[in-house]
Symmetry: C2
DNA sequence: CGTCTATTTGAATGTACTCAAAAGCGGTGG
DNA sequence: CCACCGCTTTTGAGTACATTCAAATAGACG
């Protein structure tokens, strides 16, 4: 069933009554999106948060030289949005698109707010969700500050072996913050080292 | 009064009854800390969140080469903690110390949890607080990925003019992610440009 | 005042980028 | 099913941004 993943995701932090669960599910919109299609374009105002049931999305920004930098990768069981645009109602600085054909559940901001009022437990759920995401982002920022490219590359291999297999090198390069060319050189070095 | 700043900080997002306010304030511990003293050492388990009333704190990690990287600067009216250690109860990877003589209000984790149960409005407050911090950290991560050192330096000058005045160059360098030497060269270049 | 730390400056170095060209690979249409 | 096109990946040579190391100067604090 399309809702089983999201319900188990939520059940990790809060317990819902049947009624609350029904209310919550009634607010979700199912959406299928094909590889390379956009969920959010830069300068649009973000209207929802997406939960990934299947596939993989990414959020990224484009710098003044035209290079893409991936802020977040969202494989199944993850939430993704342009948080800044969502909470400030300002135009997004990020793009969100699909790296594979994907299946999503959308929660619109206005319904989200309503949910917070009607079922305060969801304040708790999203507080915990955001705290965890924050800790992960802190750790990534520290990696950027203290590690060189090779170490970030190896860190990615170890932390996300399944993304390592499913994503093109180019996307991994855009996530760890190097050019595709240099990423390819690091890969070659790693292989040489392992032999 | 020592509580006026924190109460106005909270009133921006939630409204408390007199009783709730009293409960909250009763959980806070006042603490004064002198310049260079530590609030948290690496490998300790973080037991509280600190609100800065006066002065300035920083959280930072030390990389394998002994270089300090500042994750957060906390001037008055900001909250600071090692979030990862706090929520996972794992040993901290961060240090937190004072850049100036400072006055703090501490909220211990167990009291914090109790507060969440007794006054669910605080779930809302800290959700919003964390969301805002998250958006700020995202923007900082994107700066690291897409800007060069000069642009990060100028960005810091524009965003935090008061910290620019009060902090030693060395700390600013550790925040924007360059060596103190290079930071000094950028400063000289900026001055030359402005003439 | 003297000591310790922060800042400045310069020369040499290195990590990661740029540019270019070739090879590989996947999807699409004939 | 094969051939072609476009995109990704690889490789190499040259370059640039930021670091390292060293030494001199300035500033802060007891």
């Amino acid at each position: 069933m399309v809702y089983s993943l999201i319900l188990s995701n939520i059940a990790k932090h809060i317990q819902l009554t049947k009624k609350e669960e029904d209310l919550f599910l009634s607010l979700l919109e199912e959406k299928k999106i094909r590889k390379k299609q956009f969920l959010l374009h830069e300068n649009e105002i973000s209207k929802f948060t997406a939960f990934v049931n299947k596939g993989c999305l990414r959020s990224y920004s484009i710098d003044r030289n035209g290079f893409e930098h991936i802020l977040q990768l969202a494989p199944p069981n993850w939430w993704i949005a342009d948080l800044h645009s969502l909470i400030s109602k300002q135009p997004a600085k990020l793009n969100i698109d699909a790296l594979e054909d994907s299946e999503l559940l959308l929660l619109y901001r206005e319904d989200h707010e309503k949910l917070f009022s009607d079922v305060p437990k969801f304040e708790r759920f999203f507080r915990i969700l955001t705290e965890n995401a924050m800790a992960a982002t802190h750790s990534r920022l520290l990696d950027y500050m203290g590690l060189n490219a090779q170490e970030r590359y190896e860190g990615f291999c170890n932390r996300y072996p399944s993304l390592m297999r499913s994503l093109p090198q180019k996307q991994i390069a855009a996530y760890i913050g190097v050019t595709p060319e240099f990423s390819s050189k690091m890969k070659a070095d790693l292989l040489r080292k392992q032999k």
